[in-house]
């Protein structure tokens, strides 16, 4: 949350020769980040980001106090001027009955004043406008000014519009309707903190925004100045559900120190007296059921040094904590630290105290040293990330572009039974509902979105998600690719996968498709691995049409077999004999079966592959080699005859020419 603090306002409570720029730098390093410093006429505006745990700094007083500590630590003179509020004389002219519910509200401070509505004085107007709050009239402006100065939200009712002179604090019921002071209507979700006039009419949405039926107008004569310190969780729920993010709500949901409520009341009275001809005409009400208990934390100097990495003298620790408003007592080897009420929500354990000491001491004063090398564990060189990178790079150098699509998909893009889907309960939109089980549909969508491109090659390596009963879904790293070009060839896709796997030391097998109507199933050949299974299924190649082919492979399964291991075979001393044999083959005979049959004929055949295919003829390139001697034509001729004979018997082939 951000707050804008006006330099002239700050300096009412902070006496220092430090420039605005110095204050900016020092606060940023030790406390809260000053994101911008803007000069306006003779004044400056600090735009400060306050972390959610430091709601005590969402005020001029909070920043002034903090700045005093930080500035003096940097050797700058600085003194915090503590405001003194005088309690005014109470009157009995008016009375109000306030019935509180301690579960909802920690403290209520209230008073009735007679007033005159008019414009605020220039300095109030300017300070409010410059810190991002619209100036309306003196009655409203004073509540905002009090909030900005003290840090506790404040509210003002037109007292005469609360005809019952009664306020009952209660939880709303679901469906109750309200109209806020800006004229907007809301239906309450139920369980919200509201003020009731005792007759069932809601007159305030406590801690968030006033309502139209009780707001001050230009005719108001008597006001009820009202400070309510609320249950922060209730405030957040109501504020988020109704979408009312007023500054009061943002503060109240973080838990404001109830000790500040009374100061806020007195400050408000002082301002109404000065700038609204205000006169107190009622008793001062202070209903305070939930007082903050004192909190003590023990901290050791040794622990402080351990966390910081350097030693800070005890005197310095004491000095820093005292300046921040903590009480410090020496207790044996430890220090007993008493937490100020404004910090009890935030400071709970020893480490919180250490943080206070360290930040004020200055993180910039600590050296930078890498952790010791002995912390390094050995890890294999070829881990999963190694293979992922290798595969991605291969595809890149074969012309593929990598995409990053979202893990969630629409019902249309989800492949499989939607009942098996890992479904998001609160999706952002209908395109991001199901955790995908496959990646190809996302890639095809990318293809569609880039349809102006005639040739596209894309891939993605990402998790897919598979539902499991009573357990987290299984996350499977999956490799998918799509390519599009005119007359795309299945063999191109197959070749890519073969080479990709070859590079990982894996032999692949291709079989007729399990899923796709045209394409192939891909297996890892485990024969050479002496595995009990001969092959394991890893995915599919799918020919979608003449131009588009996709593939999707289980990368986890690939990882199990990927290896850099290579075996050296001595280089042959005797030259091979190479020949091409062309056969007339029936179209239904698979090339792989022919190759296997040819290889079976002799151990001297070291390699066979399909060289060419034309109509019903296929040409095989056959390599004969004997490691021990030069092969003669007669020897090769014998093997050749065997090949021709066995192929004729098995597949009814004829040798061409």
């Amino acid at each position: 949350m951000n707050i804008k603090i006006i330099d002239s306002h700050l300096r009412e409570y902070l006496k220092t020769p430090a420039t605005a720029n110095e204050i900016k730098d020092i606060l940023s390093l030790t406390s809260v980040s000053v994101e911008k410093l803007e000069k306006v006429e003779k004044d400056y505006i600090y735009d400060i980001e306050v972390t959610t745990n430091r709601v005590d700094l969402m005020s001029v007083l909070g920043i002034a106090k903090e700045a005093q500590t930080s500035l003096t630590q940097f050797g700058k003179a600085a003194r915090f001027i503590k405001p003194i509020f005088k309690k005014p004389k109470e009157e009995q002219i008016e009375k109000i009955s306030i019935k509180n519910d301690p579960k909802l509200v920690n403290r209520v401070c209230a008073v009735v004043l007679s007033v005159n509505v008019k414009d605020s004085p220039l300095f109030i107007k300017e300070r409010l406008e410059r810190s991002g709050i619209r100036s309306l009239n003196n009655l409203i402006d004073i509540t905002n000014y009090v909030m900005r100065e003290i840090g506790h939200p404040a509210h003002v009712f037109d007292f005469q519009r609360i005809t019952t002179k009664t306020i009952v604090i209660r939880e709303s019921s679901k469906g109750e309707k309200i109209k806020t002071l800006d004229g907007k209507e809301y239906v309450l979700p139920g369980g919200d903190i509201v003020a009731d006039d005792g007759e069932g009419n809601i007159i305030d949405l406590l801690g968030i925004m006033g309502l139209e039926n009780s707001v001050v107008t230009k005719n108001s004569k008597r006001i009820l100045f009202f400070i309510d310190n609320n249950n922060p969780h209730k405030i957040r729920k109501t504020s988020m559900e109704l979408g009312i993010r007023s500054e009061a709500a943002v503060l109240n949901e973080k838990g404001v120190d109830p000790e500040k409520a009374y100061d806020a009341l007195l400050k408000g009275i002082e301002l109404y007296e000065k700038y609204a001809d205000g006169k107190v005409i009622s008793p001062i009400y202070d209903i305070y059921p939930n007082k903050i208990a004192e909190k003590k934390i023990d901290v050791s100097e040794e622990k402080i040094s351990k966390v910081l990495g350097i030693k800070i003298p005890e005197a310095e620790i004491k000095n820093i904590l005292t300046k921040l408003g903590f009480g410090v007592l020496k207790k044996g080897n430890e220090l007993e630290v008493i937490v100020p009420t404004s910090r009890v929500e935030d400071v709970e354990i020893e480490e919180d105290i250490i943080e206070e000491v360290a930040r004020i001491y200055g993180y910039h004063k600590l050296p930078s040293i890498l952790p010791k090398v002995e912390l390094v564990k050995s890890s294999p060189f070829t881990n999963q990330f190694f293979w992922e990178e290798r595969v991605k790079n291969s595809l890149k150098y074969w012309g593929f572009t990598e995409t990053y699509t979202y893990s969630m998909v629409s019902a249309d893009l989800f492949e499989g039974d939607i009942k098996d889907a890992v479904k998001i309960g609160n999706p952002l939109n209908e395109d991001l509902v199901f955790m995908r089980r496959t990646i190809v549909p996302s890639l095809l969508k990318v293809l569609h979105e880039n349809k102006g491109n005639e040739e596209v090659k894309i891939f993605e390596l990402a998790n897919t998600y598979h539902k499991r009963l009573n357990n987290l879904p299984e996350e499977t790293m999956t490799l998918a690719g799509v390519f599009k070009k005119s007359d795309a060839s299945f063999y191109e896709a197959k070749g890519i996968i073969e080479q990709l796997l070859n590079d990982l030391g894996i032999k692949s097998i291709f079989k007729k498709p399990q899923k796709a109507s045209v394409g192939s199933s891909v297996y890892i050949d485990k024969q050479s691995l002496r595995s009990s299974e001969l092959k394991s299924y890893i995915g599919e190649i799918e020919v979608l049409d003449n131009n588009i082919i996709d593939f999707e492979l289980n990368f986890e399964e690939i990882l199990k077999h990927a290896a850099l291991k290579k075996t050296y075979k001595p280089i042959a001393k005797h030259p091979p004999i190479v020949e091409d044999l062309s056969f007339i083959v029936d179209i239904n005979v698979q090339t792989q079966d022919i190759i296997e049959e040819i290889r079976k004929q002799s151990t001297l055949i070291t390699d066979v592959y399909l060289l060419d295919e034309f109509e019903n003829s296929r040409t095989f390139h056959v390599i004969y080699q004997d490691p021990d001697k030069n092969l003669t034509n007669e020897e090769v001729s014998k093997i050749r005859k065997k090949i021709i004979k066995s192929l004729k018997e098995k597949f009814n082939t004829e040798l061409k020419n």
């Binding site: 990495g309 930078s368 564990k377 995409t403």
Partner: protein
Amino acid sequence: MEEELIGIKNSAISLILESSDLKNLEEIKLQFLGRSGKLTLAIKNISKLPIEKRPEIGVLANEVKNTIEQTIQDKEKELKEGKLKTKKEKIDVTNPGIKPPLGHLHLITQAIEEITEIFEKIGFTRLRYPEVEWDWYAFTSLNFPPNHPARDDWETFFVDAPESKKYGKMLLTPHTSSGQVREMQKRIIPIKMLNIAKCYRRQSDISHTPVFHQFEGLVISDDISIVNLKGTLDYFVKSYFGEKRVSRIRPYHFQFTEPSFEVDVSCGVCDGRGCKLCKEGWLELGGAGMVHPNVLKAGGIDSKKYTGFAFGWGVERVLMMKEGIEIDDLRILYSNKLEFLNQF
């Protein structure tokens, strides 16, 4: 005979000189010097001459042979050089080359590879944890109170699945920190892990995408302090952004660290002087801090004995903070427009 030899010489030389290519020259060579070439045959006929004439004619024949051979050699050289010359003249260096295919890795992959390399050099090990997680690992074990806003329906994606009695709701990890306690539970100390993963938050605008990436470092041992966090951070900032950039840590607040820091890097555009792109000369890198004792406890680690630091930063964020990549809408990273992807 004499005349015949002279005739052979003349016709050979004229043919050789007229020859315009090497193939033709080879043919001429065969025609005269081959096994049944004109000169070869003529030389064979010398034996049929009267013995006293033979030496004279022999010398002449030799001379003719040498001349023809020399001329062929010269012509051969000329033709070869000439061929080279014409080839040179034909090259237009501005014509396109025949390129091997070259695709593109996504910017995020490139950043992840770079980040991994930097941290591995100083002994971090990259690891991976579930993306779909239990609330307990994402929040409770990280010291988030039950009512913490991060658990709100409008902040975090929850999975439509039965709650676990032990671990609470199922959700999509909103940060890489959910790997912290999973790593601690392995009970192997020291820990020096790097977790780079997809994260999910229920938001989409020019600086947020519902899916994004974070990288998280976690170091736990018996003597880890803020000083070590600063050392690690400086090392990363200088390695990734460049020697000129400096970093600072300043107080911040996170549930799972105490003390907590916000890490800033000096702006590369204005060199820390302050400009439109930065906050008074600094760019926010992300959060860091000393591991909260409650988190160590949740991971089964003795918080009296061990201390640790952790940081978790956005991959997209560091990418955008790098010079030269000024993307005005983060969502383009996930638009998968080829026009965009093919730039990197």
